[in-house]
Chain length 291, copies 2
């Protein structure tokens, strides 16, 4: 239950690498790193490759340039590296035109490209560590993002909501055990939807569609549960929500969101609280180790 | 592994009730019942409520008329009842305008409406049995539909396909243990999609979409696995495929389909074999009790 403690730079302005995928998380991490006295060096990857990082040392890295990207970080004196943001498009191994430095790492890259998301991140981490980088967790740089246990935002729970949360955790845990996904939507009586590789946003769009077609009862109180994987390495891919998740949950007619307390991230607590209030959706943290 | 043995009428032309939901299965069952010497009496329900059954004793039954429907079957001398076809739209309890006979069964109906699909069918079965009907399995009337172990149709497997099948069964089994769904799509390296309440057809449409957007590798060989639930009552809701499943699988770029041998249904083997050949998709039966 103890979230990773925050870490501080060894010296003021110590460089830190941010491998920045898509979504709002990389920007939150860069801001937190600045506040913490680091000098963030941004390596834009995957879904985040076209993001604009003016004002920061930054470089884009296509899949075929992993070796060069890491060399750039190393030359800048970076020793610590944070992986954050979404990586949704799977690299097609055959489409990679490797540079020389990347060619020397082909075996590791191939290992990274295969396997589930979790394997992918674990393999990437190993590769980085083999090159002398220390991979640190988002919450080590921004501990204020970690979800607490109990009520986080929004209205109080109604009587059957706790049963829906338990059901959702059971389903999400089962997915995690198989390294499939982290999220599920459930009501007191049944599981409505499960997250595969499509991600939470698209799963919630599906629930909205099912509801519009009468396949979810009008009065069926449904919750989104996001649960860390049982063997989760907390350094990457913690479950997370942001204000957009509240919008998507409202679109799906959900009454609440439950997260693994201590092991999931709130990307912008003020916006989340505002969204929860406006939409009448509760957000709670629950210990996920109860069966 | 032993599929339920077929049953014969006690006397030529013995009436049998067919509670007929949506899809092609009810018609297959009615034809098989006729061939077996039964007189099918069709109660159109749910997704099948608008189907045309001229030439057979038939009656539509809205959710509010359960009592009347069963009374009609009883008056026709029906003792045995088959539940088949899809029931995808969830009845909204508050929208039911019950008739007198149904009012007397309100408690049971309420139990039927709540809970997962499996609970729903189990509760419905209890209700029918309490009224003196014997609920029999589809495959008791049409044993030729049961999927055998081994190759059923289509091309031979390639080297990694068996690993994809195992992964898919592991995922589908986990869903079944939680009474969520019966189907998953997997490759050798990861699970792509899981079936919630949306059903197999919509899950496959999702995979087609993920593939179109580059989130499934172009060369990633994916299979659909449909697995009975571990605690499945084989009288209802066995996993099944039809020729349309082959079309949908082709649309999703799948290379094959694997089913629980002895505990799943092939709805129209000739059309399935033709589709498998035309699309180059294998169809195999596998014992699902291997870990």
């Amino acid at each position: 239950m103890t979230p990773a403690a925050g870490i501080a730079p060894d010296r003021p302005g110590e460089p830190i690498g941010i491998a920045a995928g898509g979504g709002i998380l990389p920007r939150i991490v860069v801001d937190a790193a600045l506040r913490g006295g680091w000098t963030p060096h941004v390596l834009s990857i995957a879904d985040g490759i076209d993001a604009e990082w003016s004002g920061h040392p930054a470089r884009r890295m296509a899949w075929g340039q992993l070796g060069d990207g890491l060399r750039w970080l190393g030359a800048a004196g970076v020793r610590k590296l944070v992986l954050c943001g979404t990586v949704s498009v799977r690299p097609d191994f055959r489409s990679i035109l490797p540079t020389l430095h990347t060619l020397l790492m082909l075996r590791q890259i191939f290992a990274v490209i295969r396997g589930g998301d979790d394997n992918l991140l674990r393999a990437a981490t190993k590769t980085f560590e083999a090159r002398g980088f220390q991979v640190v967790a988002v919450q080590a740089i921004a501990p204020e993002l970690v979800a607490a246990e109990g009520t986080i935002a929004g209205p109080p729970l109604q009587k059957d909501d706790e049963a829906a949360i338990s059901r959702g955790f059971a389903a999400a845990r089962a997915l995690g055990q198989l390294d499939i996904g982290q999220a599920a939507v459930a009501s007191r009586d049944r599981v409505i939807a499960l997250e595969g590789i499509e991600g939470t946003r698209e799963m919630l769009a599906r629930v909205a569609d099912l509801r519009a077609r009468g396949r979810v009862g009008r009065h069926e109180r449904c919750v989104l549960v996001k649960c860390r994987k049982p063997a989760q390495d907390d350094r990457f891919d913690l479950p997370s929500i942001g204000a957009s998740t509240l919008d998507e949950a409202a679109g799906a007619g959900l009454v609440g969101i439950a997260l693994s307390a201590g092991h999931s991230l709130l990307l912008g607590i003020d916006d989340i609280a505002r969204g929860a209030r406006a939409k009448g959706i509760f957000v709670v943290g629950r210990r996920d180790d109860r069966p």
